[in-house]
């Protein structure tokens, strides 16, 4: 039987994978993707909490579901914007390797 905790664990794992990806990848696009993973972990958490706790205490409405939809939307916009910016920099530098994005430092 699936409990809330299982979804939570899944979410933590997904979040961790995303975190790892953010820290380990050198390509800007992969970093964005990893961040998307993290956001998906968030979504899982929200949906699971809303579904399992429905009716208890303050869990009377569909807040969790609504939150998820908003997050998905915003994440999409975010990715779009990020990709646009990456495209821009790719045109100027012909690379998306974040190692080369260090004109400004120290």
């Amino acid at each position: 039987m699936l409990e809330l905790i299982h979804f939570n664990i899944l979410s933590v794992l997904l979040f961790s994978v995303g975190l790892y990806g953010v820290l380990a990848r050198k390509s800007a696009i992969l970093i964005i993707m990893a961040i998307e993973l993290m956001l998906n972990a968030v979504n899982i958490n929200f949906i699971a909490a809303a579904a399992f706790n429905h009716g208890n205490g303050l869990f009377t409405n569909f807040d969790g579901h609504i939150l998820t939809i908003f997050i998905i939307t915003i994440a999409a916009a975010e990715v779009g914007l990020a990709l646009a910016l990456i495209l821009r920099i790719f045109r100027n530098k012909a690379t998306v390797n974040v190692d080369s994005f260090d004109i400004m430092k120290l």
Partner: protein, 490 residues
């Protein structure tokens, strides 16, 4: 008890602002190339109108709207006024810069307006999802604005760094929110604080959730250890945008933080006591790291970025002592933010004027400015002296006030470190002043070709005068802010 209302007219400023943004976007299509500054002027006129609208529609109001999602009160009123004013000033200093350096000028102003809208919503939200969406609205605009200088690799790089960092911190923020939600079942401040205060044995999940939320906000403010993006983004962004980041975005973030702390954290006293220490440590680190690194900078904007980190530390120290002496802290925090804003405008407006044509960025390139453009040099000097906390300028009074309230809150040592940090800051400000006033003009950079037009001149004069007047006659302003603090003192 604050009444709830369904009077949507209370959101009139936001509606008007959104409409204004659309009008500005549309006007960009109509206004021909070469007259694009009228887009900005239209925005300014609109914002001035908005100022009136705001004053007439929400002044003195204290009501919840949208099912308790938003709170229209004096706090949000004061900050709305601040945001709109900051917006006006930013647009005014942008005009020449945008014309000389950026393509597609129209959207620039529209995005600025949307950013203001984001701030306005952020400040009056009483619920984390609304807050998050407003924050993202603000952030999206800023991401674009930072990268607005399309062909400037620095600008591109800054935008990339900003957006990756920003989305990453959003993810963390949201993850924290999801954890809190799974315990509380709601994202409203009052519900969360109610649950936190009620449960004696605190749920580790909720604590971790709150922590992640705070980290997300901490990123926006740029406190140590979440400060790394600030220097790069400030440096890479077009100068007026840097000003906007350093002034508008920072004020918004702090206003938001204060709201969250007051709404969520303070009722859970035990939790807050632990947090105070964490924040204090972070504040000390922020002040020392920011000012310490600023000393060795050679580029003006980067130096100001680090100095801005240092100021975040000072402000964070004020947040630390919230709770024990609410009223006076909020009062001093508000006063500090306003004083910081006018002072920073004195600095940034002049720096924008200097950089818009010559693109100078090194401190030593400012040599000889006082001979060639005395007004700009004076503006920067006054602003820097004020930032360093020297008197006659507002910087002295706000620091004195803020440090006193920190000390009253029981953190005299923190106040002491803050004073010490402002001593360090004096050193690098003086280096900048030396460059302008003492060093002889270099042959490579000549400032004589700078033309200071009336919008810029207005901002410079207004900010200089405000820097002085607010410093020596702060009473009306403080009284206004005092109204806010009364809201939070039972």
């Amino acid at each position: 008890m604050i009444p709830e209302s369904s009077n949507l007219l209370l959101l009139m400023p936001e509606f008007v602002l959104a409409g204004l943004a659309l009008v500005v976007f549309a006007s960009d299509l109509i206004i021909p190339e070469g007259k694009k500054e009228w887009v900005g002027r239209l925005a300014v006129m609109g914002l001035i109108g908005l100022l009136c609208v705001t004053i007439f529609s929400v002044m003195g109001v204290n009501e919840y709207v949208y099912n308790d999602f938003l709170l229209v009160d004096h706090y949000s009123f004061v900050f709305k006024i601040i945001f709109i004013t900051v917006g006006i000033l930013t647009i005014l200093i942008s005009e020449e810069f945008v014309k000389e350096n950026l393509t597609s000028q129209g959207e620039y102003y529209g995005l600025l307006l949307l950013a203001i809208l984001g701030m306005n919503m952020l400040i009056q939200s009483q619920e984390f999802l609304t807050a998050y969406i407003s924050l993202e609205l603000l952030s999206f605009c800023l991401y674009v604005l930072v990268g607005y200088s399309k062909f400037n690799p620095k600008s591109n790089e800054a935008a990339i760094k900003y957006i990756i960092f920003g989305t990453f911190s959003s993810a963390i923020f949201l993850y924290g929110l999801s954890m809190v939600y799974s315990i509380v079942g709601s994202t409203q401040y009052s519900d969360i604080s109610g649950t936190l205060a009620a449960s004696n044995a605190m749920d580790p999940v909720a604590i971790l959730g709150i922590a992640l939320i705070m980290i997300g906000i901490g990123f926006k403010i740029g406190i140590v250890p979440f400060h790394a993006w600030i220097p790069d983004v400030y440096e890479g962004a077009p100068t007026p945008v840097t000003a906007y980041l350093a002034i508008g975005a920072k004020i918004a973030a702090f206003a938001f933080l204060a709201r969250v702390v007051i709404g969520v954290m303070l009722p859970a006293e035990e939790l807050w006591e632990n947090w105070q220490m964490i924040l204090a440590i972070s504040a000390v680190a922020t002040m020392l790291v920011g000012n310490g690194i600023a000393i060795v900078q050679t580029k003006v904007k980067r130096m100001l970025a680090y100095s801005s980190i240092g100021h975040s530390g000072v402000l964070l120290s004020a947040v630390v002592v919230m709770g024990s002496t609410n009223g006076i802290v909020i009062e001093s925090l508000g006063y500090y933010l306003i004083g910081y804003a006018v002072t920073s405008f004195a600095v940034f407006s002049a720096i924008t004027a200097v950089t818009y044509r010559n693109g100078v960025e090194l401190i030593k390139d400012f040599a000889g400015l006082s001979d060639q453009k005395p007004l700009l040099a004076a503006s920067i000097a006054i602003g820097l002296f004020s930032l360093a906390g020297l008197p006659l300028f507002v910087g002295f009074t706000i620091k004195f006030y803020l440090f006193s309230s920190i000390a009253i809150g029981g953190y005299l040592w923190l106040a002491g470190i803050a004073v010490f940090a402002s001593l360090i800051s004096l050193y690098y400000y003086l280096i900048m002043i030396k460059s302008m006033y003492v060093d002889t003009a270099s042959s490579e950079v000549i400032h004589n070709n700078i033309i200071v037009k009336w919008p810029m001149k207005t901002v410079i004069l207004v900010s200089i005068i405000a820097t002085i007047v607010l410093g020596i006659y702060p009473e009306p302003l403080v009284n206004q802010i005092n109204e806010i603090s009364n809201l939070f003192t039972p």
